[in-house]
C-alpha cells in the first residue's frame, strides 16, 4: 500500500504542524507516508471564484504528482472534496469544449484514490481508536465540504470519542457554516464576519478549551474571529489531537 500525503497549500504554508501530525499518526499506525514534492494547490480558490481555466494545470499536476501512489490522504475535507467533486466537472467541461479527454482522464485517475484523513482512518485502515491521548475539553465543528460534499458523517466524532482523556462537548448550531467560504470571506466580508461571530460565540459558550475541525482554512477564520472576540478557545486540527499520546500531547 503506497500512501501519499497531500498536504494542501494552506497547511503547507501556514499549518505545517498539521502535516507533521498526520505523518506521526499514520506512522504510528504502521503506514509509511510519502510526500511527492511535485504537489501543489488543489485549485479550489481559483475554481470556486470562477477561474476554472486557471485550475486546469493544477488538476494535471495533482494527477501526475500522485501517479505512483494507491492512496492520497489530505488533512482537509474541503481540498479532498475539490478533487472528488470538482475535478470530474473540470474534465467533463474541457471535453465538452472540444479539448479532448486528457483532463477527464486525469480526474478519473485522481478521484478514487483521494481520501480525507478521517475517511482514510475509518474506511481504509478500519480504525476508530488510534491510541491517542488528549486531556482537554473539545468541541467539534463539522466543516461544510466535509459534511455535505464528502458525507463524512460520524467519522470524525467517532475518532474523537475514542481518544483517551478527551471530553467531547456538543456545539450548538454545529451544522451551520462558519462563514469562511474562501474568497467569500473578503468578497462578502460583512456577512462572513457576522457568520463567524455567531459561530465563535457558540464555540465559546460550550466551555471547551479547543475547537476541532478537519479543515485549517475554516479554522483560520474561526480562530481569527475567536481571538478578536478575546476568547481563549484555541483552534486545533483533528490530526493534531489524534497524533497526541500520553508522552507527547501535540
Amino acid at each position: 500500500m503506497r500512501v501519499a500525503l497531500f498536504i494542501t497549500c494552506v497547511n503547507d504554508t501556514l499549518y505545517p504542524q498539521t502535516g507533521q501530525a498526520v505523518v506521526t499518526l499514520l506512522e504510528r499506525l504502521g503506514v509509511a507516508v510519502g510526500f511527492p514534492e511535485g504537489q501543489s494547490c488543489c485549485g479550489q480558490p481559483q475554481f470556486n471564484t470562477g477561474y476554472r481555466h486557471e485550475t486546469e494545470p493544477l488538476v494535471r499536476r495533482y494527477a501526475a504528482a500522485f501517479r505512483d501512489y494507491d492512496y492520497v490522504v489530505a488533512p482537509s475535507g474541503s481540498c479532498a472534496a475539490m478533487v472528488r467533486d470538482n475535478y470530474p466537472r473540470i474534465g467533463a467541461k474541457a471535453a465538452a469544449e472540444g479539448r479532448g479527454q486528457e483532463l477527464a482522464d486525469a480526474a478519473a485517475e485522481a478521484v478514487p484514490k483521494t481520501y480525507e484523513l478521517t475517511e482514510f482512518l475509518t474506511d481504509v485502515l478500519k480504525v476508530t481508536d488510534v491510541g491517542a491521548y488528549y486531556p482537554h475539553t473539545v468541541t467539534y465543528h463539522p466543516t461544510c465540504h466535509g459534511l455535505r460534499m464528502l458525507g463524512l458523517g460520524d467519522r470524525p466524532r467517532s475518532l474523537l470519542a475514542a481518544v483517551q482523556g478527551l471530553n467531547l462537548v456538543e456545539l450548538p448550531g454545529a451544522d451551520e457554516c462558519c462563514g469562511f467560504g474562501g474568497t467569500f470571506a473578503v468578497k462578502n466580508a460583512a456577512v462572513s464576519a457576522a457568520m463567524g461571530a455567531d459561530k465563535a460565540r457558540n464555540i465559546t459558550a460550550t466551555g471547551a478549551e479547543a475547537v476541532c475541525t478537519v479543515d485549517n482554512s475554516c479554522q483560520m477564520h474561526i480562530g481569527g474571529t475567536l481571538a478578536r472576540q478575546g476568547s481563549t478557545v484555541r483552534p486545533v486540527h483533528i490530526a493534531e489531537i489524534l497524533a497526541s499520546t500520553e508522552g507527547n500531547v501535540w
Binding site: 504554508t13 507533521q20 470556486n48 501512489y69 466537472r89 460583512a190 457576522a194
Partner: protein, 500 residues
C-alpha cells in the same frame, strides 16, 4: 392613493454593499433569525416523517427534467387542453409583453380594480406597477403580501414576503395604512396575532366580495388536462380564484408538468419543504371555465422572460426545476444575515442567486455579484426538494461573470465578455496559478514569508482590511511543511518511504 407607489428593485447596489448595511440592522437580524430557525426545524421534522423522501426528491427532479427536455411539446399540449376547456392562452416573451397583455385584458373588462393571489411570476415582472401606470389598482390578498403592499415595501422571502417584519411593525403598518386602501384597521389594534389576522380578514373581505377580476400565478399546470393548481394556506387564493367573473393567471412556462398523476409527487414535496406541513390547507385546481361555477372567463398568460435562454444552458437549467418552496432560503446562513432585499429581485436567497443572473443576465453590478452571495456551504442543495445543485450553478455563474463565455440571449447563442471590475482579480488568479504550478516558486515565496514573519502587521491595509478588520491574521510559521519534510526526511525530491 398608495396604489401608485411602486417600490422597485431598479438601481439597487451590489449584494455586498446592501448586505453590509443589513447585517448591522439588529432588528432585522433578530426577526430573520427567529423566523428562519423556526421554519428550518419544522421542515426537518416534516421531511423526516417520510421514509421515502429521497426517492420522492429524485422523482420530483426526474419529472421536471423530463418535462423541460420536451417543454415545447408539453406547452402545446397544455395550450390545446386549456383552450378546449374554454380558456384563452396568451404567450409572453418577456415582462413587458406579459404586463401589456394583462393590462389590456383588465381594460377590456372595464374594471379599475383587481384582486391578486400571491404570485412570484407577477412580482418578477412588476405587474402591480404596470397596472398602476394604467390606472388599475391591484390588491394583494395574501397576508404577508398585504403587509408588504401597505408598507410600500418589497417582498424579502418567497413564502413569507414580510418575514423581515415583526408583529409590532405589522400592527403599525395596519393601523396607519389600511384606511388608504379600504376598510381601516379596528380602533385600538394590538399586535396579538389573532387581532392582526382579524384586521386583515375584515379588510380583505371587502375586496373579495367586490372584485370582478382576479389575477393569479400557479404552482403547477397539467399538460394532459389543462388544469392549473394553486397551493396556499390562507384561503385568500380560493376566494380570488372562484369569486371574480374574470380570472387571469400569469405562469412561468417551467411550471408545466405532464400528467395529473405527477401532482402526487409535488403535492408531497412542496408543503413539507415550504410550510413544513404534511398537506397545505387549500389546494385549488381549475380547468378552463365551468358553467355557473367560478369565473366565466379565464386567461392564461404563459411567461418566458429568460426561461428558454436558461434552458439552453446545460448546467444552469436545473434552476428551472424550482417549485418555489423557499427551503433553501430558510437554511441559508447568508440569507439569514443579509436579508432578502439585498438580493435585489423577487427571488432572494440561494435560488435567487442562481435564478436572477440567468433570467436577467450578469451584466449589471448587482446581478454579477449574486453568484458570489454564498459561502458554498451546500445547505441549500441538501434541502432542495427537486435536488437543484445550487453550489454547482453558483460556481458555473461565477465563471460566466469573470470569464464571460457562451450564453443564450433571447434565443440567440452569443459569447459575452466578462463583467466589469474583475481585471485585478483575474491577474492575481493567473499569477497565483503560475506560482502554484511551479513548486519552486511557491517554496521561495513561503521562505520569504517565514523570514519576514516578525515584520508582518497584525492588520492589513487596503483590500486586506476586509479580512483583518474582524479577524486576526494567521501567524506564518518558521518553516513550511515542505521545508520540514526536506530537512527531516532528507534529500532532494524525496518520495519518502512508500511501503508498509
Amino acid at each position: 392613493m398608495s396604489g401608485t407607489h411602486q417600490a422597485t428593485y431598479l438601481g439597487m447596489p451590489a449584494f455586498p454593499v446592501a448586505a453590509d448595511a443589513s447585517t448591522r440592522n439588529t432588528q432585522l437580524r433578530a426577526n430573520l433569525r427567529h423566523a428562519t430557525h423556526t421554519i428550518r426545524a419544522k421542515r426537518a421534522t416534516a421531511v423526516a416523517e417520510l421514509d421515502d423522501w429521497s426517492p420522492l426528491r429524485a422523482a420530483g427532479a426526474a419529472i421536471k427534467d423530463r418535462t423541460l427536455r420536451h417543454l415545447d411539446h408539453y406547452l402545446e399540449q397544455l395550450e390545446g387542453a386549456v383552450t378546449a376547456a374554454g380558456g384563452h392562452v396568451h404567450w409572453a416573451a418577456d415582462a413587458d409583453e406579459a404586463n401589456r397583455i394583462v393590462t389590456e385584458l383588465v381594460r377590456a373588462t372595464g374594471e379599475r380594480e383587481v384582486v391578486k393571489v400571491k404570485s412570484m411570476a407577477t412580482q418578477e415582472i412588476g405587474l402591480n406597477g404596470a397596472l398602476a401606470t394604467a390606472g388599475i389598482t391591484a390588491y394583494e390578498t395574501d397576508l404577508a403580501e398585504l403587509i408588504v403592499q401597505l408598507g410600500d415595501d418589497l417582498p424579502s422571502h418567497i413564502l413569507v414576503p414580510a418575514i423581515h417584519r415583526n408583529r409590532g411593525e405589522i400592527r403599525d403598518i395596519f393601523a396607519e395604512k389600511m384606511a388608504e386602501w379600504g376598510r381601516p384597521a379596528p380602533e385600538g389594534l394590538t399586535d396579538a396575532p389573532a387581532d392582526l389576522a382579524e384586521a386583515a380578514r375584515l379588510h380583505l373581505r371587502e375586496k373579495f366580495l367586490n372584485a370582478k377580476v382576479g389575477i393569479s400565478g400557479a404552482n403547477f399546470m397539467v399538460a394532459e388536462t389543462g388544469t392549473l393548481v394553486v397551493v396556499e394556506s390562507e384561503g385568500n387564493g380560493r376566494m380570488c380564484l372562484t369569486l371574480p367573473e374574470t380570472l387571469i393567471s400569469v405562469v412561468g412556462i417551467e411550471k408545466v408538468i405532464p400528467t395529473f398523476q405527477d401532482l402526487e409527487v409535488f403535492l408531497q414535496l412542496l408543503p413539507r419543504s415550504s410550510t413544513a406541513e404534511r398537506m397545505n390547507p387549500y389546494t385549488s385546481t381549475w380547468t378552463g371555465t365551468t358553467d355557473a361555477d367560478g369565473p366565466r372567463t379565464f386567461h392564461l398568460v404563459l411567461l418566458d422572460n429568460g426561461r428558454t435562454d436558461t434552458l439552453a444552458d446545460t448546467v444552469g437549467r436545473q434552476a428551472l426545476r424550482c417549485i418555489r418552496c423557499s427551503a433553501c432560503l430558510n437554511v441559508c446562513p447568508v440569507y439569514e444575515r443579509a436579508g432578502g432585499h439585498a438580493y435585489g429581485s423577487a427571488y432572494p436567497g440561494p435560488i435567487g442567486a442562481i435564478l436572477t443572473p440567468q433570467l436577467r443576465g450578469t451584466q449589471s453590478e448587482l446581478d454579477a455579484s449574486l453568484p458570489y452571495a454564498s459561502s458554498l456551504c451546500g445547505a441549500c442543495y441538501e434541502v432542495c426538494p427537486v435536488a437543484i445543485d445550487i453550489p454547482e450553478i453558483l460556481v458555473h455563474l461565477r465563471e460566466r461573470v469573470v470569464e464571460g463565455g457562451p450564453v443564450t440571449v433571447r434565443g440567440t447563442r452569443t459569447v459575452i465578455k466578462p463583467a466589469k471590475g474583475h481585471a485585478a482579480e483575474r491577474a492575481a488568479m493567473r499569477a497565483a496559478r503560475w506560482a502554484l504550478d511551479h513548486p519552486g516558486v511557491l517554496r521561495t515565496g513561503q521562505r520569504l514569508a517565514s523570514r519576514t514573519r516578525r515584520f508582518h502587521p497584525r492588520r492589513l491595509p487596503g483590500p486586506g482590511r476586509a479580512w483583518s478588520d474582524t479577524r486576526e491574521l494567521p501567524k506564518v510559521p518558521e518553516e513550511s511543511f515542505r521545508d520540514w519534510w526536506q530537512r527531516t526526511r532528507g534529500g532532494s525530491g524525496t518520495e519518502g518511504r512508500t511501503t508498509t
